[in-house]
């Protein structure tokens, strides 16, 4: 048993998303870069395999089968189970995407293992850090079994610039998949509605979270947004409740923004929200909980009740603009 597999993900024939290179970097922290094999699956993986080979050292394993596109958990599981049995790796690394969340736990189960999910750091040991309690605590995990160790890495946790030069050799792996093994019928992806609000081009954004407590209180943050000339955005619970439309949601399931200024009002800072806004140039956090994870990414913080702080801020902004 030896080597490290890192399973990358190509969506809609586009070039590979950043999180794939981050997963590759994480894989290279677990052993020699040359011992890392990047795996790409699909009906046609040629372009993606070439893209990976140009950037990565080691090997690229191209797993091609007509039944691998579109994605199904059953097809992907069958293919990767055969590849892992053939390769017997020490580690299997994934980017922590929605698709990985769909099949990787089952894949680990097939080998009597458990996926160490959403890893944010790898230190000597190896010890894997992941977040707990909505980001309020970190947990350090160790793999204690003799079999392969399965882990997925969080978006943005590792650098996307690879520590070694490319030039990997491309190999083919042909899995045996029978159409009868695939029990689900996936439909074409679709978007709910035309997006009327493009938050990604906004320079100033006021984001609101659970701390607002009630829909009737929304005017407090709307007034601040108006005073600043900012767009209003929200974390998932606010849109789930129907208080603001889905198109104003920022985070992994909504839009990704990087304005000059992002004011997070009553947002605790769960990772699902942070991935959508942590690239903002300046982050201001207003929260009544001094231990809220939002303060870890904030440039400026005010601990207090947003019902009091936000109106005061609106007044101060108005005064400054006069």
């Amino acid at each position: 048993m030896s080597g490290i597999l890192v399973v990358l993900e190509q969506r809609a024939q586009k070039s590979l998303a950043r999180i794939n290179w981050e997963a590759l970097t994480a894989a290279m922290r677990l052993g020699e870069p040359a011992s890392v094999a990047a795996v790409i699956l699909g009906a046609d993986t040629q372009a993606a395999a070439a893209e990976i080979a140009a950037k990565a050292p080691g090997r690229v394993i191209s797993v091609q089968h007509p039944l691998l596109t579109p994605y199904t958990a059953d097809g992907t599981l069958a293919a990767l189970q055969q590849l892992i049995q053939f390769e017997s790796p020490d580690y299997v690394v994934f980017p922590h995407t929605y698709q990985v969340r769909d099949y990787a736990p089952a894949l680990a189960t097939r080998f009597g293992q458990m996926l160490i999910s959403d890893v944010t750091a790898i230190v000597e040991g190896p010890v894997f850090t992941r977040q707990m309690m909505q980001g309020r605590l970190n947990g350090n995990y160790r793999h204690t079994s003799s079999g392969a160790c399965f882990l997925s890495v969080q978006a943005g946790a590792f650098p996307a610039d690879l520590p070694a030069a490319g030039g990997a050799a491309i190999e083919q792996f042909s899995p045996a998949i029978d159409a009868a093994q695939i029990r689900t019928i996936p439909g074409e992806p679709y978007r709910a509605a035309a997006q009327a609000v493009d938050l990604s081009s906004a320079q100033l954004i006021v984001g609101v979270g659970r701390g607002i407590k009630a829909q009737d209180n929304l005017h407090i943050v709307e007034e601040l947004a108006t005073a600043l000339g900012a767009e209003l955005a929200a974390s998932r619970p606010i849109c789930d409740s129907g208080w603001l439309p889905l198109e104003r949601q920022v985070g992994s399931s909504g839009q990704t923004v990087a304005p000059k200024l992002y004011i997070a009002a009553g947002i605790s800072g769960a990772i699902q929200h942070l991935v959508g806004m942590k690239a903002s140039q300046c982050i201001v956090a207003v929260n009544k909980d001094p231990d809220a994870p939002i303060f870890e990414v904030a440039d400026y913080g005010i601990v207090g009740d947003l019902m009091e702080v936000v109106p005061a801020l609106t007044e101060a902004v108005k005064a400054a603009k006069q």
């Binding site: 992806p189 600043l228 200024l261």
Partner: protein, 259 residues
């Protein structure tokens, strides 16, 4: 249709979390508990499915693994309309890995042979986001994750799955199947007084964890927990709301140049 909903009792999100002396867990006496929110959405989806096919009959069974005190979330689920409950009694939930917990749940589900097993997509405490998928694999059932809506079809179910960045997908699955439910697809109901009263007469079947699975060594171990380290140096602005607001506006003008 017979639907099992797996629910978990988790520390309330407003609870203060403190690391205990062992450094491996949090001080439990500090905590208030609540039903894991994605599980509450899973329960709601199950109740709505049952109500839509009321003529055909149907049953919603809630299943939890946890200590005696997790009975609180069972009673809440029964008060909202679940028909009966199964409580796998275990005091070492936090020390079990996701595979071990899933084995317990799978053993209890197998005896019941439901048409659907619904679970929240992840817990708000450990957040592994895997239990439902592992149970599906252990039982050899098809599954789908991040589901916002479930509709019955002639041969199974059609589900709305959330993809990233505002995209969705419809998937058809044969039943029996396992679905993990994302928040936001439905509006969680409150228990009525009548519901709370009725819940007292509903069946809660306790099962000892030791009778379901043999003790197997964990494959992944939580060694230590710690407070996150700051990635940025945050300037905290103190004072009354008015003072803090004035200080921030100064920073936004002079340091950030956005005013």
């Amino acid at each position: 249709m017979k639907i099992i909903v797996a629910i978990k009792q988790v520390p309330d999100r407003e609870s203060q979390v403190r690391i205990d002396d062992s450094g491996k867990w949090i001080v439990e006496s500090d905590l208030q508990y609540a039903m894991n929110e994605p599980d509450a959405h899973a329960l709601e989806e199950a109740l709505q499915l049952k109500e839509k096919s009321a003529a055909a009959g149907g049953e919603v069974v809630v299943l939890t693994a946890g200590p005696e005190s997790a009975g609180t979330v069972i009673r809440e689920a029964l008060a909202k309309g679940a028909d009966r409950a199964i409580h796998i009694l275990t005091d070492d939930l936090a020390r079990r890995d996701a595979l071990s917990v899933a084995r317990l749940l799978a053993a209890a589900v197998k005896e019941e042979s439901p048409d659907l097993l619904l679970a929240g997509l992840q817990s708000e405490d450990l957040g592994y986001g895997q239990t439902g998928v592992i149970v599906a694999e252990l039982l050899g059932l098809p599954h789908a994750t991040l589901i916002l809506n479930v509709e019955k079809t002639d041969t199974g179910v059609r589900v709305k799955r959330e993809l990233e960045e505002g995209w969705f997908q419809s998937i058809e699955l044969p039943t029996p199947a396992v679905l993990t439910i994302q928040s936001g697809g439905n509006k969680i109901r409150y228990a009525t007084l009548m519901g709370i009263k009725r819940a007292k007469t509903k069946e809660v079947r306790p099962i000892a964890a030791s009778s379901l699975t043999s003790d197997e060594a964990a494959v992944v171990v939580l060694d230590k927990i710690s407070l996150p380290t700051k990635k940025k140096s945050t300037q905290m602005l103190a004072g009354t709301p008015k003072e803090a607001a004035a200080a921030l506006v100064e920073k936004l003008r002079l340091e950030v140049h956005v005013l």
